[in-house]
C-alpha cells in the first residue's frame, strides 16, 4: 500500500457510520436541549420588555386615542368629572425629580470624589458598605420616616404644610445617591493613574489634579451617573406618594414652588388604581401614565446603555 491508499483507508474507517451517529445523538440530545433552553432564557429578556410594553399599550392606548391631546396637556386632573389633564402630574414629577437632582448631584459627586480620591482606605471600607446599606433600605421605610419625622419638621420651619415637593425631593435625593455615588466612583476609577501622576509631576496640587485633570477625563461617566440618578428618581413611587401631599395642581413658577404640595405620575397610579373599575376611562388613563413613564425610563436607559452594562455588572447587578 502506498501512502495515499493508507490515508484513504483511514479516512473511510474514521467516517462515522449510522450506528455511531445514533450513539452520538443519544448522548447529545440532552446537550442540545439544554443549549436551546439556555438560549431561550437569554432571549426571554427581550420578550419580557416587549410584553411589558404590549400590555401597557393594551390597557392604556385608549388614553391617547380617545382623549383629545389638548385635554391631556391641560392641568385639570379631575377623574370624577372625566377631566384627565396630565400636565399637573408631569409638572409634579419634574418638580420633585429636579429638586432631587439639585440636592443629590452635588452631594453625590463630592462624595464620590471623597471616596475615590481623598479618603484613606479604612474610611472607604466603612463608608462603602454604609452607602450600599442605604441602597438596601426599602422605599416604604424612607417614606414612612418622611411622613412621621421629616414632614412635621419642615412644617415647624414655617411652611404651611410639610407635605411638599421639597420633602419628596429630599427623600428621593437620598434614594438616588447610592446610584450616583457608585457610578461616579467607577468613572473616576477608570481615569488612568498616569494622568494623575503627570499632573502631580508638573507641580499641580492634589486638588488642581482632581479639578482640571481627573474630573474632565471622567466627564462622560459622571454625566451617566446623573442620568441614571434621574431615571431612578422619576420612577420612585411609595416614598413620594407619602410625603408630597398629592395635590394635583401646577404651582406658580418660582422658588416657592418647591414648597407647595404636588402629585407625581407614579403616585397617581399607585393611589388611584385600587379604586377604579377595570375597563373605565380612568383605568385606561392610569395605564397611559404607565406608558409615559415606561418611555421616559426606556429612553434614559437606552441612552446610558453602553456605559451602564459595564457598571451594572461591576456593581453586582444593582443600578
Amino acid at each position: 500500500m502506498n501512502l495515499a491508499q493508507i490515508a484513504k483507508r483511514q479516512y473511510v474507517e474514521r467516517r462515522p457510520n449510522a450506528q455511531t451517529i445514533r450513539g452520538w445523538l443519544r448522548r447529545n440530545w440532552l446537550e442540545w436541549l439544554i443549549e436551546v433552553l439556555i438560549r431561550a432564557a437569554g432571549f426571554s429578556t427581550i420578550l419580557i420588555v416587549g410584553l411589558i410594553f404590549v400590555f401597557l399599550l393594551r390597557e392604556g392606548l385608549p388614553t391617547f386615542l380617545d382623549i383629545p391631546l389638548r385635554q391631556l396637556f391641560s392641568s385639570r386632573w379631575y377623574p370624577i368629572e372625566s377631566l384627565y389633564g396630565l400636565w399637573s402630574l408631569i409638572v409634579g414629577s419634574i418638580l420633585v425629580t429636579a429638586g432631587a437632582v439639585i440636592i443629590a448631584v452635588p452631594l453625590g459627586l463630592t462624595t464620590a470624589i471623597y471616596l475615590g480620591e481623598i479618603a484613606p482606605q479604612w474610611q472607604r471600607e466603612i463608608l462603602k458598605p454604609l452607602i450600599e446599606m442605604l441602597a438596601g433600605i426599602p422605599s416604604i421605610v424612607l417614606g414612612f420616616l418622611g411622613w412621621m419625622v421629616l414632614a412635621p419638621l419642615i412644617q415647624t420651619m414655617g411652611a404651611s404644610t410639610g407635605l411638599t415637593a421639597f420633602s419628596g425631593s429630599l427623600i428621593l435625593a437620598y434614594m438616588a445617591l447610592p446610584t450616583i455615588i457608585s457610578i461616579s466612583e467607577d468613572a473616576l476609577y477608570a481615569v488612568p493613574k498616569t494622568y494623575r501622576d503627570g499632573a502631580l509631576a508638573m507641580g499641580a496640587t492634589q486638588w488642581q489634579t482632581i479639578w482640571r485633570v481627573v474630573l474632565p477625563a471622567a466627564r462622560s461617566g459622571l454625566m451617566m451617573s446623573m442620568m441614571l440618578g434621574i431615571g431612578r428618581a422619576i420612577g420612585e413611587t411609595m416614598a413620594v406618594m407619602m410625603v408630597t401631599g398629592n395635590a394635583a395642581n401646577v404651582p406658580d413658577f418660582g422658588p416657592t414652588m418647591f414648597f407647595s404640595p404636588v402629585r407625581t405620575m407614579t403616585a397617581t397610579i399607585a393611589a388611584e388604581m385600587g379604586e377604579v373599575s377595570q375597563g373605565s376611562m380612568h383605568y385606561n388613563v392610569l395605564f397611559g401614565i404607565g406608558i409615559v413613564l415606561f418611555l421616559i425610563t426606556f429612553g434614559i436607559n437606552s441612552l446610558a446603555g453602553r456605559f451602564v452594562g459595564r457598571v451594572v455588572r461591576r456593581r453586582g447587578g444593582q443600578l
Binding site: L30, E31, I131
Partner: protein, 281 residues
C-alpha cells in the same frame, strides 16, 4: 488665594458633603431601631393583628413577605441563571446578544410601579390569575431578573478560561464543562446576586399593590391563588390609611421590615467577602 489654600477649602467642602451623605444614613437606621425596638416581642412577631390592627402582632404580614420572596426566587432563579449562562458562555457579540443586554438594562430601569401595572394587566387580568400570590411572585420575579442576571454573569465570567479549556480537552462537552467546572466555581457569586435581588424584592411595595397585597387578612393564605398580607404594604397601610395607629406598632413594623431586608443584604455581602478571600486562582 494660594493653590494650597484652595485645596484646603475644596477638601473641606468635599469632606463636609460626604458627611452630609453618610450621617443621615446612620441616623435613619439608628432612629428606626431605637423607636421600634420597644415594640418587638414574641407576641408582635407571632400574633395576628387584632382590634382593627391596633393590637396584636404582624405575623401574617411577615409570613406573606416570606412566601412572596420564596415565589420570587422560584421565578427569577432558573430564568436568571439561564440568561446569565447564555450571555457568558453562548452569546457571541452580535446584534441579538446586544439586544439582550439592552433589554436587561431597560428591565433594571423600569419603575417598580410600571411592573405593578404590567403584573395587573398580564397576570391578574389576561392570564386570569386574580390578585394572588402567584401573580405577585411572577411580577416580583421579573422585576428581580436583571439583578440576578448581571451578578450571575459576572460570577461566571470570573471563572478562568483555562478551567474550560482543560475540561473540554479532556473530552467534556460544553454543558458538562459548564455544569461540572464553571457553575460550581461561580456559585458563591451567583448566590450573592440572588440574595441581593431577593432583598430588594422583599422590600418593594409598588409591584404588589395591585397584584397580591391584601389590606387586612387575618387568615393565612391556603394556596398560591390566595391573596396575602405583606410587610411593606402593611407598613404603608398602618401609617397612612388607618387613623389612630399606636406609634409603637408602626415603628415596630418598620424595624422588622428593615431588619429582614438588611440582614439579607448583610448575608450577601458576607458571602461575597468570604468568596473573594477563599478564591484560589
Amino acid at each position: 488665594m494660594k493653590p494650597q489654600q484652595v485645596q484646603k477649602l475644596a477638601f473641606g467642602i468635599i469632606t463636609t458633603s460626604a458627611a452630609l451623605v453618610v450621617i443621615p444614613i446612620v441616623l435613619v437606621i439608628l432612629f428606626i431601631i431605637v423607636k421600634g425596638i420597644g415594640a418587638l416581642s414574641w407576641t408582635f412577631l407571632t400574633a395576628v393583628p387584632q382590634n382593627g390592627m391596633t393590637e396584636g402582632g404582624i405575623m401574617p404580614a411577615i409570613l406573606g413577605t416570606m412566601i412572596l420572596t420564596l415565589g420570587t426566587a422560584i421565578v427569577c432563579i432558573p430564568l436568571g441563571i439561564g440568561a446569565a449562562i447564555y450571555l457568558a458562555e453562548y452569546a457571541r457579540d452580535n446584534r441579538l446578544s446586544r439586544w439582550v443586554r439592552l433589554a436587561i438594562i431597560n428591565l433594571a430601569g423600569i419603575p417598580s410601579i410600571v411592573y405593578g401595572l404590567f403584573g395587573l394587566g398580564a397576570f391578574v387580568l389576561f392570564l386570569n390569575l386574580g390578585t394572588s400570590i402567584i401573580a405577585g411572585s411572577l411580577t416580583l420575579g421579573i422585576m428581580t431578573l436583571p439583578v440576578v442576571i448581571s451578578t450571575a454573569e459576572e460570577a461566571i465570567l470570573a471563572v478562568p478560561q483555562e478551567f474550560r479549556m482543560v475540561s473540554q480537552s479532556l473530552g467534556a462537552t460544553r454543558w458538562q464543562t459548564i455544569r461540572r467546572q464553571v457553575l460550581p466555581h461561580a456559585m458563591p457569586g451567583i448566590i450573592t446576586g440572588i440574595i441581593l435581588g431577593l432583598s430588594r424584592a422583599a422590600g418593594e411595595t409598588a409591584p404588589i399593590l395591585f397584584t397580591v397585597a391584601a389590606f387586612y387578612l387575618p387568615n393565612l393564605p391556603r394556596s398560591a391563588s390566595d391573596q396575602t398580607m405583606a410587610l411593606p404594604y402593611h407598613l404603608y397601610v398602618i401609617s397612612t390609611q388607618v387613623p389612630g395607629m399606636p406609634l409603637s406598632i408602626q415603628y415596630g413594623t418598620a424595624l422588622v421590615l428593615l431588619l429582614l431586608v438588611l440582614s439579607l443584604t448583610l448575608v450577601a455581602t458576607l458571602i461575597r467577602t468570604r468568596m473573594r478571600r477563599r478564591r484560589d486562582w
